[in-house]
């Protein structure tokens, strides 16, 4: 399993009110298969997640993936760390399901036929067989989120960071996506408001106002979260 380390990582942002600290000095070492990050809106969860693959750069401190600094080894880290957004529409850049996954596998497959075969196999793996040529606009919310996850995992990353992947979904689709995430072989950093899903992880981290206020077994951390004022 890969290791993600936050070494006194902090993030400041300039707003109309002046400089605001979004994430205070954070030191963590994540080596578990599935790590849930929970907390209220604006607590710094997404910022913490975005630090892992360089979508956000730390203002101070370092973030390391397998001992390599994300700020210095951006390209190599991006190949190791995939990121999935809450809204799949943000992430899907091609008009049909197969074209979107084929875009992800272009790097590895030079021949169009190989690309299509690989993309078809990925879609099949994610339960999207038969929807290859369907417009992404015509897919259901759950299918679109599956496609977004398939698109990033097709690049064969070691880590998947998922930022509230079930937030926009109904109960059935949220459960389905949750099940898919829990069966992945990749290390998973899961930012979520879904406490049932968080409870299925190996470790949970609770953020409050940009600080880690609880860290440990999900049941304990969720209990702490529920008791927060």
């Amino acid at each position: 399993m890969t290791t993600i380390e936050f070494d006194r990582a902090r993030v400041d942002a300039v707003t109309a009110e002046g400089e605001v600290r979004i994430l205070h000095d954070t030191t963590l070492r994540l080596a578990e298969h599935r790590v849930a990050v929970i907390g209220a809106n604006g607590s710094g969860k997404s910022t913490l997640a975005r630090l892992v693959n360089g979508l956000v750069a730390p203002t101070g401190g370092r973030v390391l993936v397998d001992g390599r600094d994300v700020a210095e080894h951006g390209r190599a880290i991006r190949r190791r760390v995939a990121f999935c957004f809450a809204d799949p529409a943000t992430q899907i850049v091609m008009p049909t399901a197969i074209e979107d996954v084929a875009l992800s596998v272009r790097r590895r497959h030079r021949r169009p036929a190989d690309r299509l075969a690989a993309a078809t196999a990925v879609l099949h793996d994610f339960g999207l067989a038969g929807l290859e040529h369907r417009s992404v606009h015509a897919l259901s919310g759950g299918q679109r989120q599956l496609l977004a996850i398939a698109g990033v995992l097709a690049t064969d990353p070691a880590i998947l960071v998922a930022d509230e992947p079930t937030t926009l979904l109904d109960l059935r689709n949220a459960r389905h996506i949750g099940d898919v995430l829990m069966t992945l072989s990749q290390q998973l950093v899961l930012v979520t408001h879904d406490l049932e899903l968080a409870a299925r992880c190996d470790r949970a981290i609770l953020l409050e106002a940009g600080r880690v206020v609880a860290d440990g077994p999900p049941a304990q951390v969720i209990d702490t979260y529920r008791r927060l004022p």
Binding site: F85, T90, V93, H133
Partner: protein, 220 residues
């Protein structure tokens, strides 16, 4: 998000002669016809162009709804421009300009309908490969082209949503309520797309010669 390509057309797989024709040939033909239509512009030639393009479009067998949607997108701007030209420079010029626009837009729609973006990316990559000596990365140029193709209908979709939002608040006649949110949402969409490209690692140079290995680990 919009799934449509040029003029609202989405790729439809098939085995027609247009599907089988190499994407480079289709792209070259469209460019050539566009150039010729601009050079030899007359009411007669543009009418012939628009009629032939319509015939070609019908060979793609669009459904009634698709055809209606295409008609809306293909006709609105040319008709407005054509009317302006009729008013300014007479019937001949108006018909020539609007006919050319309709013809080219229909041909572009046909191209998008019978050519997958993947095929288009390969073609553009091949076309710009000689320019790599100037520091251009062919894969990135092709990818930027495909993003541009996608961004046009996506921006139209954003405009439609913005108009609906303004209508819901009774502000449909307020230009600020239309333009300011449209500008903000378009920039936000561009930012989000940039983040997605970064997150999906799509902008890094392509490796050559690596073997295939797709691993998902998921069996939903």
């Amino acid at each position: 998000m919009s799934s449509a390509g040029v003029a609202g057309a989405a790729y439809r797989p098939g085995d027609s002669f247009l599907h089988r024709m190499p994407a480079g040939t289709k792209l070259a033909a469209l460019t050539l016809i566009g150039a010729m239509a601009t050079i030899w512009r007359s009411a007669a030639t543009s009418t012939i162009l628009a009629t032939c393009a319509l015939g070609l479009y019908l060979t793609t067998r669009p459904g009634r709804r698709t055809a209606a949607r295409t008609a809306r997108r293909v006709l609105v701007v040319p008709v407005i421009v054509g009317m302006y030209q009729v008013w300014q420079r007479g019937w001949d010029h108006g018909v020539a300009v609007s006919g050319n626009l309709i013809g080219i837009l229909l041909l572009a729609t046909v191209l998008a309908t019978v050519t997958s973006i993947d095929e288009m990316l390969d073609t553009i990559t091949r076309l710009v490969r000689p320019l790599r000596h100037l520091g251009l990365q062919p894969e990135l140029v092709a990818f930027a082209f495909s993003l541009m193709m996608r961004s046009l209908p996506a921006t139209l979709e954003t405009a439609r949503e913005t108009r609906q939002a303004a209508q819901a608040r009774g502000l449909e006649r307020d230009v600020r309520a239309l333009l300011i949110p449209l500008a903000i949402r378009t920039v936000a969409r561009a930012r989000a797309t940039g983040q997605a490209i970064h997150a999906r690692n799509l902008m890094d140079p392509v490796d050559d010669g690596r073997t295939s290995r797709v691993r998902s680990g998921a069996r939903p």
